[in-house]
Symmetry: C2
Subunit: 417 residues, 2 copies
DNA sequence: CTCTTTTTTTCGAGCCTCAAAAAAATCCTG
DNA sequence: CAGGATTTTTTTGAGGCTCGAAAAAAAGAG
C-alpha cells in the first residue's frame, strides 16, 4: 500500500523539483523556476540558496543576450559541474566504452576498448568491465573522486530492478549482476540499464519537443529492440526491462528466430533475417552475425535493382508494420524513432511497413504516424545512461544535508543513514 | 512539467491516504492506519477526528470478535454510508442498468431496462440513459440527493479523459460524450469508463491477493476486450481507453474481423468467429450476433464430439495464445482472468491456448501462468464502476472543507472554488 | 539623479507532522 | 476488588515548511 507523505518529504521533493527544472531548462532564473514548478518565489529562493550553499547549483551572472529588459536582471542558475560526476559503461557486441561525465552533463573523460564479447568467459567479461572502470577512476589527470553513480547500458534483457543483465545477444552468458558487482567493487551505486530504454531517454533529452510524453524508439540492428515512453515515463516490464517488441509474434510457426522460437518480428526484420532472405538461404537458416558494412552494401544493392535484396527489406517492413500495428492496438499510435544500422535503410523498409500498419487497428491514422531515423545507436545509449545516472544523483542529493558522494565544495557534514 | 508540492497538498494527500486505507481495510483502527500509511499516530488521530467531524468516517465501537487482547481496545473506523452516494450506469448490448451505491459501497437502489441498442437513434439512446438516471435521482423512497458522482461503463472504446464513448459494438453510433451530457443534465460529475477496465478494477477489489499489481482481465464475448493493470495502475492508452487486445494481429491477412480488418485475434476468438468456424461458414462470413444460449449449446456440442465445433474452440485458443504471447513479450507474464460467456468454455480453449503461448517469448514460464474464469461480466463491470466512482469521491472530499456534494451531516459551509 | 520596473530576499503567519507525554480503556494478578 | 500492566488514543509543544506581503536590490528610462 502506498505510503503517506511526511513533512520532511516535502522539502526533499521540492528540492528535486528545482534541480530538475535547472537540468531541463539549462539556465533558468528563480522566477522562471517558480513559474514552472508552481511554487512561490520565496520557496524557490530559499531552496536555491540552500542548493548554492551546498555547491549543487551555481549562479551565472550574465543572463546573456537580450538583457534589454528593464528592472533587476534575472540571475541564471546552473548546475555546478563539480558537484558530482557520473560514469557510463556501455557494453555492446565486441565493444566496451566508458565515459566520465560531470554534473552539468559534459563528458570529461572517456575510454573505449575492443574485445570479443562472444567468446569471453564470465570472469573475463566482468574483469574487463571492472578494470576499465578502475582505470578511469584512478586516472591521475582527472579529479574523478567524486563519481557518485555508474550507469551500465547493455544490449539485451535486464531485470526490472536494474541490477543484472538477464540475457544478451552479445554473450552466451546469462544472469550477470553487473550492477551489484561494480557496486561492491568500487562502493559506488550502479544500475544496469537496457540499451533501448536508454535510447529512449536520450531521445527525450535531445528533442523534448518531438519526444515528449509518448513515443517509441526501435533499434534495428542485429536484433530488434524497443524503448517505450508512455505518459512521460519509461515503460518497463514488471520483472524485466520489458518491451521485447522484436519477439512479438508476426507469423505463428514462421521463420526461425535467434531466440529459438518461430515467427518473431525479429526473424524477419533483424539484420540476420534480412541477410538470409536477401541471400535466399531460407527462413530456417541459422542466424549469423552480419557486419554493418555488409548491411550497408546490401541496402545499396537493394536500392539498385529489384531483386531478392529489395524483397528482404520489404519483408522486414511488413513484419515491423504488423508488429507496430499490434502494439498500436494496445497503446495508441505515437511517434517512432528508428535507430541502428538498418534505420539507414529505412527508405527500403518504409513502404511495406506503412502498408502493413494500414491493415491493422492502429493504422487508422497510419499516415499521421511519423518516423525518424538515426543510424548510430551507441551515442544515444551513452547519452541515455548519462542522463539516467545524473537523474539518480539529482534524486539522491535531495536528501537535505546528506549528499551521497559529492565534492569537497558540498558540505560533507552529515552521514548517510 | 510536473508541479511542486504545496503545503496544503500535504494534508489533502494524507487525508486521501486515510480514507483509502479505511476503504480497503474495512474497519481498521487508527493504529492500523498509522502502520499502513507510515504516518505518525498523532497525524492519523488528527486527520481521523477531522473526518469524523465532517461526517465522512464513523466509529464502530465494537472491534468485534477477538477483543481478547489486553490494553485499551481498538476503535474501528468505517466509512459513513451517508457521507455520499454514487450512481453507476452500465450500457451493454440491449441492456441498460443503473444502481445507486452508498459511500460504504452497498447498493441501495437499482433499475434495469431492456432496449434495442443497435437500432436506437442517437437522441433515443442518450434519452434512455438520461431518463433512467433521472428516475433514480427523483425516487422519493430514497434520499439520493447526495449522489456525488456518476460512473458510466460501456463496451467499446472510450477516450482517455473518460468523457466520451468513441466507438462501441452495441451501437452504430460513434463519439457520444455521455459523461458531458449527464454532467450538464444533472450537474453531477460523471465519467465514461471502458467495460474491461472496470472488470479489472472490480477483480482487484474482489480478490486483492490474486489481482494485485499486475494482471490481465480478458473479456471473451461477442468481441474480445482487455483490461490491464500494470504496477498497480490501470493501463490505458494515451488517447483512448487502449488495450485493444482483440485487435492485435494474429494472422496477417487472415480471417475477417468485425472491425473490417483481417487477421485480428477477435476474428478467431470472438463469439461470432467461433460460431462461423463451428458452422464451417468460412473465415470471410459476415460477423453475426450469437446469443449466449447458443454459445453454451455450441460448447456442449464441442465437448461431446470431436467435430468442427471443437476445432473452432481450438482455433480460438490458438489466436488467444499467440496474442497473449505477444503481449507477454511486452509486459512480462501476469495472472489472467477470463471473463464472459466463452470463459465458461475455457476448458475447450485452454489446451491450444497454452500450446500457442509456449511457442512465444512469453511462454518460457508458460506453465506458471494461471487462468481464472468468470462467466458473468455484468456484475463485475458494475462493481468496477462503483469502485471507480467512490474513489473519485474519496479524492474530492479530501479538499479540506470543500466536500463536493455531501449529505447534511457533512459540514456544508464552504463553497466550491 | 530620480522614477519605473522587475527580480530576489526577508519576515511573520499559518499549517502540518512528529515525538513524547498524558489520558483512557481494558485485562491480569494476587 | 484494587492496583498494576498493557495497549490505544489524544494532547501538547517544538520544529519545519510554504506562502503572501513587504522590503531590498539592481538595472534601464527619462
Amino acid at each position: 500500500m502506498s505510503v503517506g507523505i511526511r513533512h520532511d518529504d516535502l522539502r526533499r521533493r521540492n528540492r528535486a523539483m528545482v534541480i530538475s527544472a535547472v537540468r531541463r531548462a539549462g539556465q533558468p532564473s528563480r522566477t522562471e523556476i517558480a513559474a514552472t514548478t508552481g511554487l512561490s518565489h520565496s520557496t524557490i529562493s530559499a531552496i536555491s540558496s540552500d542548493l548554492i550553499a551546498e555547491g549543487i547549483l551555481a549562479q551565472s551572472k550574465a543572463s546573456e543576450a537580450g538583457s534589454l529588459k528593464r528592472g533587476r536582471p534575472q540571475v541564471g542558475l546552473t548546475l555546478n559541474p563539480e558537484a558530482a560526476a557520473v560514469m557510463t559503461v556501455v557494453l555492446s557486441l565486441n565493444f566496451l566504452s566508458v565515459a566520465v561525465i560531470d554534473y552539468a552533463g559534459h563528458v570529461v573523460a572517456e575510454e573505449q576498448r575492443r574485445l570479443t564479447t562472444l567468446t569471453l568467459s564470465r570472469d573475463e567479461l566482468v574483469g574487463e568491465c571492472v578494470s576499465i572502470v578502475r582505470r578511469r577512476l584512478e586516472d591521475p589527470d582527472l579529479d574523478v573522486r567524486s563519481v557518485a553513480r555508474i550507469a551500465l547500458g547493455i544490449q539485451g534483457i535486464t531485470d526490472s530492478h536494474a541490477r543484472a543483465m538477464l540475457w544478451s545477444p552479445i554473450t552466451p552468458l546469462t544472469d550477470i549482476p553487473f550492477a551489484d558487482i561494480l557496486e561492491r567493487e568500487f562502493g559506488i551505486p550502479a544500475t544496469m540499464e537496457n540499451d533501448c530504454n536508454m535510447m529512449a531517454v536520450a531521445l527525450r533529452w535531445r528533442d523534448p519537443e518531438r519526444y515528449r510524453d509518448d513515443f517509441i524508439a526501435i533499434l534495428l540492428s542485429h536484433g530488434i529492440g524497443m524503448g517505450l515512453v508512455l505518459k512521460g515515463e519509461l515503460f518497463t516490464g514488471t520483472h524485466s526491462s520489458g518491451g521485447e517488441f522484436g519477439h512479438m509474434i508476426h507469423r505463428p510457426g514462421g521463420a526461425l528466430c535467434r531466440c529459438g522460437r518461430r515467427g518473431c518480428v525479429e526473424a524477419y526484420a533483424g539484420n540476420y533475417a534480412i541477410w538470409r532472405n536477401a541471400m535466399q538461404l531460407g527462413e530456417d537458416a541459422e542466424p549469423t552475425d552480419v557486419g554493418d558494412a555488409e548491411m550497408r552494401a546490401l541496402a545499396a544493392r537493394a536500392r539498385e535493382t529489384d531483386g531478392p535484396e529489395r524483397e528482404a527489406y520489404r519483408k522486414a517492413g511488413e513484419a515491423l508494420g504488423y508488429g507496430l500495428g499490434s502494439l498500436f492496438a494496445l497503446i495508441d499510435p505515437a511517434p517512432v524513432a528508428m535507430v541502428g544500422v538498418s534505420a539507414a535503410a529505412f527508405d527500403l523498409i518504409e513502404p511495406s511497413l506503412r502498408e502493413a500498419i494500414a491493415q491493422t487497428a492502429g493504422g487508422q491514422h497510419s499516415k499521421s504516424i511519423s518516423f525518424d531515423t538515426e543510424p548510430n545507436e551507441l551515442p544515444l545509449i551513452r547519452e541515455g545512461c548519462a542522463m539516467r545516472a545524473l537523474t539518480f544523483v539529482d534524486q539522491e542529493i535531495f536528501a537535505p544535508g546528506a549528499p551521497v558522494r559529492t565534492t569537497a565544495t558540498a558540505m560533507a557534514s552529515h552521514e548517510l543513514a
